[in-house]
C-alpha cells in the first residue's frame, strides 16, 4: 500500500490536567475523504490544530507524505500543502471576497497579476463569482463557509482539513455544497473532515474515525460505525445501545 498522505502516530496533547488528545493514531489515504466524528469536546478541533501546526503535541509524531512535520509552524504546514478551515469562519472582515482569496492565492503565486487571476478562478469555482467585490462581512453564513473553503483552496493544498464546513447550513445549502467537496476529492485532494451532519458523513466519507474524550474509540466504514454500539454509547450515554434494543443509530 502506498504511503498515506497523513499519518498521525500516538499523538497526545495536554492542557493542564486535561488530556484533550490521548494517544491518537490515524491515517488518511491519498485522494480519500476521511471523516472525524465524535461528541462535543472530544478533541476533534484540537487534533486539527495539532495537524496544522497551531498547537504542538506533547508526544507523538505527525507524518505528511512520510516526512516528520510534528513541530512545524502553521505557515510552513500551509507551504507543504496542508490547508485548514476554521470551525468558526475566519474571514478577513474588512476586505472583499476577492481580496480574501487573494491572500491564499499569493502563497503559490508571488506575482500580483497571477495571484489575482488565480483567486478569481477559485472564487468562481466555489460559486462566489457574483460576490467577489463584496466586503466579506456582508456574506451569509453559507457564503462565509464557501469563502473559508475558497481561501484554503487558493493555497493549492494536497491535504484539506475541513472543520465543520456544513455546520449551521440548512438542508438545501448542504445539498449544494456536498458535490463541491466531492469534486475537490476527485481532483486528487485528500480531505479530512470534522462533521456533525451524519447524513453528509454517510454520503461522503470512505473511512470514519470516532473520537471521544480524546481517544479513538472506533474506526471503519460509515456503515460499520453506525452499527457500533460503542459509538452509540459515546453519544447517548452508557447503556444507550442496549436500551435502544439494537436499533440502528442514524
Amino acid at each position: 500500500m502506498a504511503e498515506p498522505v497523513l499519518a498521525i502516530e500516538r499523538v497526545s496533547r495536554r492542557f493542564g490536567g486535561l488530556l484533550a488528545v490521548n494517544d491518537v493514531s490515524l491515517a488518511a489515504r491519498d485522494g480519500s475523504i476521511t471523516a472525524l466524528i465524535g461528541p462535543n469536546g472530544a478533541g476533534k478541533t484540537t487534533l486539527f490544530a495539532l495537524i496544522s501546526g497551531f498547537l504542538k503535541p506533547n508526544s507523538g509524531t505527525i507524518r505528511y507524505h512520510g516526512a516528520d512535520v510534528t513541530n512545524e509552524p502553521p505557515h510552513r504546514m500551509a507551504r507543504y500543502g496542508i490547508a485548514r478551515t476554521f470551525q468558526i469562519a475566519q474571514p478577513f472582515a474588512g476586505l472583499t471576497v476577492h481580496e480574501n482569496i487573494l491572500v491564499g492565492a499569493h502563497l503559490r503565486h508571488p506575482a500580483r497579476r497571477a495571484a489575482i487571476a488565480a483567486a478569481e478562478q477559485v472564487g468562481h469555482e466555489l460559486g462566489l463569482g457574483a460576490r467577489l467585490d463584496r466586503p466579506a462581512n456582508t456574506l451569509t453564513v453559507a457564503e462565509r463557509k464557501r469563502l473559508e473553503l475558497a481561501k484554503a483552496l487558493a493555497t493549492q493544498p494536497t491535504l484539506l482539513l475541513l472543520d465543520e464546513v456544513l455546520a449551521g447550513l440548512n438542508p438545501s445549502e448542504i445539498r449544494d455544497i456536498v458535490p463541491v467537496i466531492r469534486a475537490l476529492c476527485r481532483r486528487g485532494i485528500t480531505i479530512v473532515m470534522i462533521e456533525h451532519v451524519m447524513q453528509a458523513v454517510m454520503r461522503l466519507a470512505e473511512h470514519v474515525f470516532v473520537l471521544a474524550e480524546g481517544r479513538i474509540i472506533a474506526e471503519g466504514s460509515p456503515a460499520q460505525i453506525a452499527a457500533d454500539p460503542g459509538v452509540v454509547e459515546a453519544y447517548l450515554g452508557r447503556g444507550a445501545a442496549e436500551k435502544l434494543g439494537g436499533a440502528r443509530a442514524n
Binding site: F54, H75, F92, L107, A111, P135, K151
Partner: protein, 327 residues
C-alpha cells in the same frame, strides 16, 4: 507605473508651492507639517497596514536624529552619510524591538505598551548618556553648504523633505500592491487566518517594523538638519510618538495619503488656533489636536480619507468600502 500616478500628481503639485512666492513662515509651517507626515507614514506601514499600533515611534525618530547629529558632531562624519546611517539606525531599532516583541507573541495593547516602554527607556538613557550630550543636548554646527546638508533657502529644505515624503509615498504604494502588502493587511485583519494560509506572520510584522522604523527615522534625521539641535525630549519624547500615530489616524489609517493629509489638517488647525488667539493661549493647539481626534474617532473612524470614500460609495450606490484589488 499607472498605479503611482496619484503619488506623482500630488508631489508635483506640492513641489510647485515655493515657486508661488509664499512667505518663509508658510514654508516653515509646511516643512514642520511634512516632518510630521513622514513620521506618520512610517507609523502607517506598521500600524495602518499591519494593524500593530505602536505608541513609541519616538524610538525611531530619536534614533535617526541622534545618529545623524552625533556622527557629525563627535565623529566628523559627512552629513549625507550620517543621514543615511540615521535611517539605517531606525531600521535596526525596528529589527531589535520587533524581534523581541513579535517573537514573544505580544499583540494589541501589550505591543503598544512595550513600544512605549522602549521609547521611554531610550529617552531616559539619552538624557544621561555623555555621547548624546545628556541634558544639554547636541548642537550641530551651522554650515550652510550642500556638503553639510544645510541650505540657505527654506525652499530647498522644503523640497528635500517633500522628496523624502515622496519616497515614503512610493514605498507605501508599492507595498500596497505587492504580495508582502497583501500578507501584511491579512495579518491586520486576522492573524490566525493569515497563518493558516501560509503567511509567516512574525516575519511579515518584523519586515513592516523595519521599514516603518526606517521611514520614521528619516523624519528624525531631517529634523536635526533643519533645526540643528536635538535633545532627549525632542528626540524620544512622547510628542513625536503621538504625532506619528495621530496624523495617519486623522488622515486615514492604511491609506497611502492618510498621513500626509492628516499632518496638513492637524498642523493647519493648530496653527490656525495659535493665530486666532494671537499667542495669548499657549497650548491651545494641543487642545485643538485633542478635539479633532475625538471628532474623527467619533464620526470618521477610518479617518478623513475613509470618510470620503464611504461618502462617495454611498453617493454612487456601491457597497465596496475597501478599494478593490483589481487595478
Amino acid at each position: 507605473m499607472k498605479e503611482l500616478a496619484p503619488v506623482f500628481a500630488v508631489v508635483i503639485a506640492m513641489a510647485a508651492v515655493p515657486l508661488l512666492g509664499v512667505s518663509n513662515v508658510t514654508l516653515n509651517f509646511l516643512v514642520v507639517a511634512l516632518i510630521a507626515a513622514l513620521a506618520g507614514q512610517g507609523w502607517n506601514v506598521l500600524g495602518g497596514y499591519g494593524g500593530q499600533y505602536s505608541f513609541g515611534h519616538a524610538a525611531f525618530f530619536g534614533t535617526g536624529a541622534y545618529v545623524t547629529a552625533v556622527l557629525q558632531v563627535r565623529y566628523g562624519v559627512n552629513a549625507w552619510i550620517a543621514f543615511a546611517l540615521g535611517i539605517g539606525g531606525g531600521a535596526l531599532v525596528g529589527a531589535v524591538v520587533g524581534g523581541l516583541t513579535f517573537r514573544s507573541g505580544l499583540r494589541g495593547s501589550y505591543f503598544a505598551l512595550v513600544t512605549l516602554a522602549f521609547a521611554e527607556v531610550l529617552r531616559i538613557s539619552a538624557s544621561v548618556a555623555p555621547i548624546t550630550g545628556g541634558g544639554v543636548g547636541t548642537l550641530v554646527k551651522l554650515d550652510l553648504h550642500v556638503v553639510a546638508l544645510q541650505f540657505q533657502s527654506r525652499a530647498v529644505f522644503y523640497w528635500m523633505i517633500l522628496a523624502l515624503v515622496a519616497v515614503a509615498l512610493i514605498v507605501t504604494r508599492l507595498i500596497e500592491r505587492s504580495r508582502f502588502g497583501v500578507w501584511l493587511i491579512a495579518v491586520r485583519e486576522n492573524e490566525d487566518a493569515a497563518m493558516a494560509l501560509g503567511v509567516n506572520t512574525t516575519a511579515v510584522k518584523l519586515a513592516a517594523m523595519v521599514i516603518s522604523g526606517a521611514i520614521t527615522a528619516a523624519a528624525g534625521c531631517f529634523y536635526v538638519q533643519y533645526f540643528l539641535f536635538i535633545d532627549s525630549g525632542l528626540a524620544y519624547g512622547t510628542w513625536i510618538s503621538i504625532e506619528a500615530l495621530l496624523t495617519p489616524i486623522i488622515g486615514g489609517v492604511g491609506t497611502v495619503f492618510g498621513p500626509l493629509l492628516g499632518a496638513l489638517v492637524v498642523r493647519g488647525l493648530g496653527e490656525g488656533a495659535r493665530m486666532v488667539t494671537g499667542g495669548e493661549a499657549p497650548g491651545l493647539d494641543l487642545v485643538v489636536y485633542g478635539c479633532v481626534l475625538v471628532l474623527i474617532i467619533w464620526f470618521a473612524p477610518r479617518g478623513l480619507i475613509g470618510a470620503f470614500t464611504q461618502l462617495r460609495s454611498r453617493v454612487m450606490g456601491s457597497a465596496g468600502i475597501v478599494e478593490t484589488s483589481r487595478g
